[in-house]
Symmetry: C2
Subunit: 212 residues, 2 copies
Amino acid sequence: MAEFSTNDIDQMHHLYRINLINSCSGYKSANLIGTIDKQGVSNVAIFSSVTHLGSNPPLLGFFLRPTTVIRNTYDNIKATGIFTLNHIHEEILKEAHHTSAKYDHSISEFDVTDLEEDYIDGFEAPFVKGSPIQLAMRYVEEYPIKANNTILLIGKIEKLYVPNELLEKDGFINLSKGKVATINGMDGYAIPNIKMRLEYQRPKPEFVIPND
Amino acid sequence: MAEFSTNDIDQMHHLYRINLINSCSGYKSANLIGTIDKQGVSNVAIFSSVTHLGSNPPLLGFFLRPTTVIRNTYDNIKATGIFTLNHIHEEILKEAHHTSAKYDHSISEFDVTDLEEDYIDGFEAPFVKGSPIQLAMRYVEEYPIKANNTILLIGKIEKLYVPNELLEKDGFINLSKGKVATINGMDGYAIPNIKMRLEYQRPKPEFVIPND
């Protein structure tokens, strides 16, 4: 068994630390966030921190650093109030991963990769063509995180597109039927197969404390 | 293709909405959070929102509702300042899922399930025995989320335990070697196999704008 204390983590080589800490929280979502600036330059970038916040209202959040390439995504969302979320699937893994490279703001990742931008139903931010699940999102609010200068950005789902064959009768989207990816650490990718769905859980009767 | 607008989502049956919106963000992490109150009553609960916030300092965050069973986790963390994170793996899927049932605060989920509590290196919050990756966490800060009354709680890694066979030379933890689970929606579970690791990405030279 390997053990790492706070002190060990502080002292280790930064690349080792990035790999270790990025993979210690478990599997991550794999999304491409599409945005556009006021001049019409589009941007698409990979994010592994998109998280469900609540279904009513339908809110998702993600974390971003206020520096480097990710800044394009943030600046564009602040300028336009909108963005798209597009699930990364098996066919576009390598192209999606390449959007983590740092390009100048004037260059669209759609021009340097085989990813194709798609504009749907008049929504101004670009979707990623062929992505099995696509969401049109509107900016709601943000929280600057004091502990490490990241930003939590929260968006509301304005439109959700899902192929019928992924959608089950009770609203469950079967991600594995869409060959949706999940991320391990900075650079590990898997295409999971759903093993099982478990039932809604109620307490075991013998452990329920009766009301007086 | 199925399409859902904000209005459709607002109007749909709440169970359909919960399934749909919970599965539309992609795969989620699968963790058991262990806590203990001042009287020594332990608690363990399943969370699918644990997210990597940054590696230096090593921070993770998760979202919780200020009501229902999850309140025990929050109250205990506020009272003691500590909690544990334990990855859910193939062998304990059903027991882990059962911790979503609502038990009275006086009842420990360790007593009603086959999950076993484990106390390591004098850390006062309970770990889940046999979990392939275990983290001792200390409370850092929290953010009340106005948009839906959830709370983002941020903790710092104080100790990380990983079996040597999961740890690669560059610090990458191979989650699939630990048969770690990922969650689809409210109740879908998968045990992914890592398909590939991709390299660190640099811009393609022909798209680099030279410095003047």
